[in-house]
């Protein structure tokens, strides 16, 4: 498959196959799906909501949530909408569905019915099918999105988009590398090309569907440039298939200045590379994820983490913030805990929304640093792909020129080691084969040596482990005990 737009013939060929893979796909009509989407009021359109938020300088709040059974899921969403005052709703898909294991999902539904509680970690949308999805999307007032982690999300997309969802998370890289072990990167990129093309077809029929690559990747000490490269490339791949509304994401790193610099540079860089690829007609918005790594178990401490993430989201000017709950370290939140996370976030967001955050010169240095790093990797990707970003990124992952820390995929090089510097900025300790120039690495090394000196130890692997645990143990930088 080439990196150009998927032809309608090829699309239809794949479509026929994919709809056969589970009974709820049989006979699904795209025309009917489009007709159904036309009946959805604009106030419930996710893409429109994102655009309006961006224009108004607002930060919208969205939780994660999904349970096994339709009625329970509806109650959950309504609770988050009413008691949680969420602006945008999710439907988080369970982990069996994410692996296309609809048989196991069916078992999970059954066991959940017996146990009278959800034994699945999300909503098995494929099993519930079109009617189930429409029941859900019709019973809420807010725009609603599918959130998952599915390398092959084609059937799920067919069912949920026809089912009334107006935004779809994921991408061929971001839903592969952090989420799977053995799916070849080219395979997931191809499968996501189908999803993006499907969204493109909706767009061509006047249905605005929002697409959101998954920003935070492994959520654990991911340096901004790493996730930016993935976000930008997935953005390009989506635009190529006709996607118009794109929301790029970034997971909180922890240092205020690095996080603000990251969000500002993400937007700049996306426009830069989208232009380079010849795209003009798109709506770009951003999403900031509250801390995606290990959380403290104590709920009061978790609130501290949640609220700090909310504050930074606003200071960074994110159009949306994804909200964690005080149960994060322990398990999928109850609806009450989920709403608490939302209300804590709401308070911080509203207290901060009127505050301007002027960017000083020291800060500009960090913005430029991230931009330099991203351009450095992007150039290498283009080089490896002989000018084609898609071929390039597959080759880059293979060569370790692009590398995601702590990822489970065997198609990820896995040599990069990130580490915090003395101010808590996430830097690169071991670059593996990452395409970072010597002067970039010298800068990182200098910053890390600063920390080593302050801690009276050498830069070492133990620091990485200490940093992984740090926030869950109540600090940003993993200092020696």
């Amino acid at each position: 498959m080439s990196s150009s737009k998927l032809s309608i013939e090829k699309f239809n060929e794949i479509r026929r196959e994919i709809l056969q893979t589970w009974p709820t796909g049989h006979g699904l009509s795209l025309e009917e799906g489009i007709a159904y989407q036309k009946t959805i009021p604009e106030a419930k359109n996710f893409a429109v909501a994102m655009r309006k938020a961006s224009q108004a300088g607002k930060t919208l709040l969205q939780p994660r949530a999904g349970v096994a059974l339709i009625q329970d899921h509806i109650k959950l969403l309504q609770y988050l909408e009413n008691e949680g005052e969420a602006d945008l709703l999710p439907t988080t898909i369970d982990a069996y569905t994410r692996q296309n294991r609809y048989q196991e999902a069916a078992l999970g539904i059954e066991k959940s019915l017996q146990a009278r509680t959800s034994l699945l970690n999300g909503f098995p949308a494929v099993n519930h099918g079109l009617a189930g999805c429409r029941q859900v999307t019709e019973s809420v007032k807010s725009p609603i999105q599918v959130r998952h982690g599915t390398p092959d999300a084609r059937l799920l997309a067919e069912i949920t988009l026809a089912g009334g969802f107006t935004s779809y998370e994921g991408g061929g890289i971001s839903y592969n590398i952090p989420y799977t072990k053995k799916v070849p990167l080219q395979k997931s990129i191809d499968d996501w090309k189908y999803v993006d093309r499907l969204v493109g077809i909706y767009e061509e029929h006047g249905i605005h569907i929002n697409r959101e690559p998954f920003g935070p990747l492994t959520g654990t000490l991911v340096p901004p440039f790493v996730s930016h490269v993935v976000a930008i490339i997935e953005g390009i791949l989506a635009l190529r298939q006709g996607v118009k509304s794109i929301t790029l994401g970034y997971g909180q790193g922890g240092n205020l200045f690095q996080d603000v610099a990251a969000l500002i540079s993400l937007k700049n860089l996306a426009h830069e590379f989208f232009a380079r690829e010849g795209f003009k007609d798109y709506e770009l918005t951003t999403v900031f994820h509250q801390w995606m790594g290990g959380f403290p178990e104590d709920e009061a401490k978790a609130f501290g983490v949640i609220s700090w993430g909310a504050a930074v989201a606003v200071l960074a000017g994110a159009d949306k913030v994804i909200v964690k709950s005080p149960h994060e370290a322990m398990g999928i939140p109850t609806k009450e805990a989920n709403a608490q996370g939302l209300r804590c976030t709401r308070q911080a967001v509203s207290m901060l929304r009127d505050q301007k955050f002027p960017i000083g010169s020291e800060h500009r240095v960090e913005i430029e640093q991230i931009e330099k790093e991203v351009r450095s990797i992007m150039e290498a990707v283009y080089r490896l792909g002989n000018g084609d970003i898609e071929a390039g990124i597959v080759a880059a992952f293979e060569a370790g020129v692009m590398d995601v820390p702590f990822a489970p995929s065997v198609y990820n090089h896995g040599k990069i080691l990130p580490m915090r510097d003395n101010n808590g900025f996430i830097r690169v300790f071991n670059k593996g084969n990452l395409a970072l120039s010597d002067d970039i690495m010298a800068y990182h090394r200098e910053k890390l040596e600063e920390r080593a000196k302050a801690e009276g130890r050498n830069v070492c692997f133990q620091m990485v482990t200490d940093d992984i645990y740090a926030i869950s143990k109540g600090a940003l930088v993993g200092r020696p005990r």
Partner: protein, 139 residues
């Protein structure tokens, strides 16, 4: 005494790899010979690796909430395959939702796991226990 073999992995369709990498580093440093199967490991893969390496213990992780479904039956399958004496440890965020640990523990003990751990467990204590449990079995 040569190092004791143990098998490590994250069960089911669970992709959480960070804790797994830390556990590998920890138990290796604690003197075990670790076969780390990584994430998304089936019960069959755990058993095959244990047989192949003559492991004294299987350390199962489950973080993503499906532990209750994924972990059931491993003890029975071990017995079936002749691993009557193998120690089974399980740890992580084992069930869906924040649940008092004693309830979780009871569930997994009933399934035949020898020891059950929450996400907050002290790894130092775990490796001590593991050494003691292996020594006790050896007698």
């Amino acid at each position: 005494m040569s190092a004791t073999n143990i098998v490590l992995g994250v069960i089911g369709f669970d992709c959480h790899s960070v804790g797994n990498k830390i556990l590998e580093a920890w138990f290796t440093e604690s003197g075990f010979k670790v076969t780390n199967l990584g994430v998304m490991v089936s019960q069959e893969e755990f058993i095959a690796a244990a047989i192949e390496t003559d492991a004294k213990a299987i350390l199962v992780s489950s973080l993503y909430g499906h532990g209750e479904i994924d972990c059931a039956g491993l003890r029975e399958k071990c017995i079936e395959k002749g691993l009557e004496d193998i120690l089974l440890y399980v740890g992580g965020n084992l069930v869906v939702g924040k649940t008092p640990f004693p309830q979780v523990e009871e569930k997994f003990l009933k399934m035949g796991y020898d020891r059950v751990f929450g996400p907050d467990c002290s790894l130092e204590k775990v490796s001590e226990m593991l050494k003691a449990d292996i020594a006790a079995k050896a007698k």
